[in-house]
């Protein structure tokens, strides 16, 4: 279980304090898929980055399975099973797809294990394991490999920042079955996409750095379809 308690994050802009996240209190339970939605700039990605330790909170607590991880480094959080799939996948000159998958899993994979993982994101291992993770891969390919790393890692808290972006050719159905593969732990997805929202156990709506609504997927979807809420969602 992940608990976010009284989380605040602010930055200084032109000598003025700007609040990005305001008093966030959330509980994420195991074996559930959460989708955080909201318009651009509502603080969705920042919240994931704070949970991963990439961005430092201003105040508040992050508690994973009863342990306060608020002051742990990115590495320590990674080793505790927190995994973050970047919105913009990082490229490396000289590192291959296989290298990143091996690092993610903490072990060397054989071809059949690579096949298992990459086929779940719609890629053929033979064609990809020795490709360099550089800008010769398309945005969609990089995005799928980013998702594959989360599968290889098998963490207890998996976070995906707009996973559907750039994977048009690959069906949403596959993306949803990918989330099924992560069942058992907590899955948090940042997304605007209705088809992703439709598979959520819980939906959290952020607006202007605050949680404005949250609830079960079904209930929230009908509320979000309402025009006024749709505006908050970024429709």
């Amino acid at each position: 279980m992940l608990k976010i308690k009284n989380l605040n994050y602010s930055v200084e802009e032109n000598s003025m304090k700007k609040d990005i996240l305001k008093d966030i209190n959330l509980t994420f339970e195991d074996n559930k898929l959460y989708v955080i939605t909201g318009h651009n700039g509502s603080g969705k990605s920042t919240l994931l980055k704070i949970i991963m330790g990439i961005v430092q909170k201003s105040s508040g607590q992050i508690v994973l399975d009863g342990e306060d991880i608020s002051n742990l480094s990115i590495t320590e959080r990674g080793r505790k099973g927190i995994c973050y799939a970047f919105q913009q996948p990082v490229t490396f000159k000289g590192l291959k797809v296989k290298d990143l998958l091996d690092i993610a899993a903490g072990q060397n994979h054989n071809l059949s294990q690579m096949c298992d993982i990459l086929s779940k994101v719609g890629l053929c291992a033979k064609d990809y394991i020795n490709r360099f993770l550089d800008d010769k891969l398309s945005g969609g390919e990089l995005k799928r490999i980013e998702l594959a790393q989360a599968l290889a890692r098998g963490g207890k808290l998996n976070m995906f920042d707009e996973p559907e972006a750039g994977i048009d050719l690959w069906s949403f159905e596959n993306l949803t079955s990918l989330f099924d593969n992560l069942k058992g732990g907590i899955t948090i997805v940042v997304s605007h996409q209705k088809r992703i929202l439709e598979i959520a156990d819980e939906i959290i709506l952020l607006s202007d750095g605050q949680v404005v609504m949250q609830g079960s997927g079904k209930k929230m979807l009908s509320l979000l379809d309402d025009k006024s809420c749709g505006r908050l969602r970024g429709n």
């Binding site: 990439i54 480094s73 990115i74 490396f92 000159k93 590192l95 690092i103």
Partner: protein, 306 residues
């Protein structure tokens, strides 16, 4: 051969035993072992130090090893090796030099290699440089490579400096005729106060000739590297020069490109990027459980080995 000799030969030429096929092993300025085959002849020069390597027409899937090792402090070695590669060959040449210096006097190897690549031939040439030994004497390597390529030939040149070389100035000159392809891959690691300079001058003389230079360098501590490229397009041709450098600590890398399209149909490109390891790369690997040092090592290893 003693333990140090074997260690150096393994580092620079991956030799664990006497190689099959043609080879010449040079130690402290003298030929230690040499073997010719009926297809590849190795002949010592009579007028100066060095060998001629003569590869007959049509020889395919063969290799030649010509590593050099120096284990004496204060020893300066100058050698001229000329390669005559016949037409229609497909061959791999493994060169390289390892210096072990535990004295306070400098050791130096200057290898002047000239390649005459026959028509339709394909050559893979690997040159690996390495220094070791804890003496204050420098380990200096100044190779010069000259390449003359006949029509439709291809040369893949891998130049690797894997550490321990105090100072190096490496110069490469190439002339390409019609439909020739020259691929140069250079990976250099410098540490402490080491200095490495590379200079490439490539003349694309023939129509449809191509040249690709990819340089990956990592400079640590107070080391300095310079990269100078000079590509001249004299015909309808293509060249792409890429210089990427990673800086750590107080190190410095200077890249100087020159591209000269004498022929208006020449297409010449130069790209250079020098800087520290991108923060997002470190963050990505740390989020997968590596600490910062491990992440840096993974990035540098991949960058230098590929």
């Amino acid at each position: 051969m003693d333990k140090i000799d074997r260690e150096l030969l393994e580092k620079v030429a991956q030799l664990h035993k006497v190689p099959a096929g043609a080879f010449n092993i040079r130690k402290n300025g003298q030929a230690q072992m040499r073997q010719s085959t009926k297809e590849i002849e190795i002949v010592p020069k009579s007028s100066k130090s060095g060998i001629d390597i003569i590869i007959k027409k049509g020889v395919k899937n063969k290799s030649v090893h010509i590593p050099v090792i120096i284990t004496l402090g204060g020893f300066k070695d100058l050698v001229y090796n000329d390669f005559y590669i016949g037409d229609d060959c497909d061959i791999t040449i493994i060169a390289g030099c390892g210096i072990h210096n535990k004295t306070c006097q400098d050791s130096q190897h200057d290898g002047i290699h000239t390649f005459h690549v026959g028509k339709n031939s394909k050559v893979r040439y690997v040159e690996k440089h390495y220094g070791q030994g804890d003496g204050s004497g420098e380990k200096i390597l100044n190779p010069i490579t000259r390449v003359y390529m006949k029509e439709n030939s291809q040369m893949d040149f891998e130049s690797l400096q894997i550490g321990g070389v105090s100072s190096t100035i490496r110069k490469t000159y190439a002339k390409l005729k019609e439909n020739c392809v020259l691929n140069i891959k250079e990976n250099i690691l410098t540490t402490e106060t080491q200095y490495a300079k590379t200079y490439f001058k490539v003349k694309l003389m023939g129509k449809n000739s191509k040249c690709e230079v990819v340089s990956h360098s990592v400079a640590k501590d107070d080391s300095v590297q310079e990269f100078v490229s000079d590509v001249i397009g004299e015909s309808e041709c293509f060249a792409h020069v890429e210089c990427d450098g990673i800086l750590l600590d107080r190190a410095r890398i200077v890249s100087t490109p020159k591209i000269d399209a004498i022929n208006k149909n020449a297409s010449l490109v130069h790209e250079a990027a020098i800087g520290k390891i991108a923060g997002e790369q470190l963050i990505k690997l740390m989020s997968l459980g590596l600490d910062q040092d491990q992440a840096e090592q993974v990035i540098i290893k991949g960058f230098l080995e590929n």
